[in-house]
Symmetry: C2
Subunit: 388 residues, 2 copies
């Protein structure tokens, strides 16, 4: 979060002249978050492959990655195209592939980007092979491994693993390895559960890689990751790389599962008080779901943050306050636990900062991020890459 | 929804060449929805003031409004600025005002737009008066009336009504009348409840107007509306205008409360099947919350549609299917009521259309809408106006 007392006068002018709502990034917090996970991961002998989907701004790439050959993950072909334009060449498109998207993938390969796609069924493997034959190319493919029943992927013991990998290995595609994502780790509620989820992600990925190697199918890449597990690995032997997305901005979901503290949250929504309801103890702000997203990621956590917690402009948490309801351009701030709030403590025109439940979803609502560096005294605008 | 059998070959080529996910609009359905409410409202002697916040595309204005002097509502100053650029001059900015936004409002007034702002507290009235004195202008203001306890506004019997109106009427601002929004009507679950909500919105607005007139404060505008009530007024005597937003696109929330049928939903998200989980009976599509929004507006309705219902490409509802979970770029389609789904019925690469819970939220996730007119055989791209 931002403490406006740490801004230079010029920065403060920028901060105040911006019309609310807007997404404000504390750059030093962001940089610290990036550095922590990179150092931790590299110290264990693996590469860090940040997921671009959270930030999706070309201006952030110089901070996310050491150089243009550094690995990065994307969730859309559009991100990969923007990366190619910026000169970044080592990409995984980590969403299951369908044949229709392979044309744009091939265009990127032709431009020199090493972009890998994801498959977890023989049908997909055959579709990629067919495309490669028909278009005289060799699309790199990873197999998705299911490590925790979260969504897709193949279990290591499933005969489909060898079958699908074999199809790719012997076909026109370029089989490069496996990818696992411990999506269930977002529901962990204790340090022990997090360590177990991290160890499980590692061991399931290693088992899948071993089975492929036993079947004489080379498995060059063993890619794992999720922000919760990435902060909890104890041993990465055999793992080539770790992926994580939300760790740069962090959010209330990550605070709720114990991955970060509130003061590590780098992105907040600046809002203005636009009304009061004295009878109900409500303060209206101009940040509704258009600015915050409708994400309720903390709903099933022990501490439900509504649509976001509230700080003042110095980054001080206003205890007990939360955004309890959102409409398109209205947020209703109220007190939890039935305590009463005096709206007059929040005059019309004053500003409140909202900590996001889910930074990926909140950042996605903003075409620009307003980035303040309290060390270099700079203010920058980052432009989000939009669409698919 | 769209039935691809009704597309011309050229339209079908466009439809198929577009990469998913994308927002697809059946223009004839949209036009029918617009016409119905305009005819109904004007037949009762009131003007229709569509809310731009749902569609937010300049290309749609020629259909939303008869001409450039027609009334329209906005939820952001950015929309009003886009309207000014397109030559539209009769605007209500229907979100409570804070002083910081008045500079841009004044710029619009100077350019010739009649843009009115909204207030419901003496503080706001004083802030607007002060701004007008300091900047030698006269900003038109409406008072927000609370008709159902939904959010903000002043109750007609509240002494604050006359006090605030008087401040504006005698101050430097230009007091023009009142505005009410029956936000609670979204929770109505029977035709009788809808008629009551509509009648109540009318009667509360008329009472507020009468009290102002009794205090010798002219009340030129009496503006009411919400999509549910706008379809249920029986008498609009004394009401000058009706506002509604989602009625052009419609959605599952409106279907759930009985305002429209499924086949009146004009905007759907076209998605591609990108994976299967046979064990769980899941089909993965490439429409997650980035494409659908995370809106769960039907969660508290008798029929909870998850993150959206599913049709095939001919607009045929696939009974029992819904998007049960969303991640950023993944939707999980599953069968409700414990029935089982055979993912192989939905081959990788095939397309499914998702009906949105809340069209305002879903449209907001898309920078472009892909608009098919099955009558004129045209295909157009509409560009959403982004930001604040």
């Amino acid at each position: 979060m931002l403490n406006i007392r740490h801004l230079s006068q010029t920065q403060l002018d920028s901060y105040q002249n911006l019309d609310t709502p807007y997404l404000c990034v504390n750059k030093q917090t962001f940089l610290r978050n990036l550095k922590y996970l990179r150092t931790r991961t590299e110290a264990m002998g693996a590469r860090l492959r940040p997921h671009f989907k959270t930030v999706r701004a070309a201006e952030a790439l110089q901070y996310l990655l050491p150089d243009k050959s550094s690995p990065i993950t994307v969730s859309t072909v559009k991100e990969a195209e923007a990366l190619m334009e910026a000169g970044y060449t080592d990409v995984i498109y980590a969403v299951g592939i369908s044949a229709a998207k392979l044309k744009r993938v091939r265009d990127l390969l032709l431009k020199g980007q090493n972009i890998r796609v994801l498959a977890d069924t023989p049908e997909q493997a055959e579709q990629v092979n067919r495309f490669c034959r028909e278009h005289q190319c060799s699309v790199p493919v990873l197999l998705e491994i299911d490590c925790d029943g979260h969504r897709g992927g193949i279990r290591p013991e499933d005969p489909g693993l060898i079958e699908t990998a074999q199809l790719l290995h012997t076909g026109a595609a370029d089989f490069q390895g496996i990818l696992a994502h411990a999506g269930e780790s977002y529901h962990c509620l204790s340090p022990a559960a997090l360590r177990d989820a991290a160890a499980n992600e590692v061991s399931v990925a290693l088992e899948a890689a071993a089975r492929l190697q036993a079947a004489n199918i080379p498995c060059e890449m063993v890619s794992i990751g999720s922000t919760p597990t990435a902060h909890n690995y104890e041993n990465l032997d055999g793992i080539t790389e770790v992926r994580a997305g939300v760790y740069g901005f962090f959010d209330l979901v990550m605070t709720g599962i114990g991955i970060c503290d509130l003061n590590q949250i780098a992105a907040t929504v600046v809002s203005t008080v636009i009304g009061h309801n004295h009878e109900k103890g409500w303060v209206f702000v101009d940040a509704g779901w258009m600015a915050l997203s409708g994400d309720r990621g903390t709903a099933n956590q022990p501490y439900d943050c509504g649509y976001g917690l509230v700080t003042d402009e110095t980054g001080q948490l206003l205890e007990g306050l939360q955004v309890s309801t959102v409409n398109q351009e209205h947020g209703i701030v109220s007190m939890t636990n039935g305590r009463s709030l005096d709206p007059d403590n929040f005059p019309i025109g004053s500003r409140l900062h909202i900590l996001p439940n889910h930074a990926c979803a909140t950042a996605a609502m903003h075409g620009q991020y307003h980035v303040f560096d309290t060390q270099d005294e700079t203010y920058e605008v980052w432009n989000r890459i939009q669409g698919w």
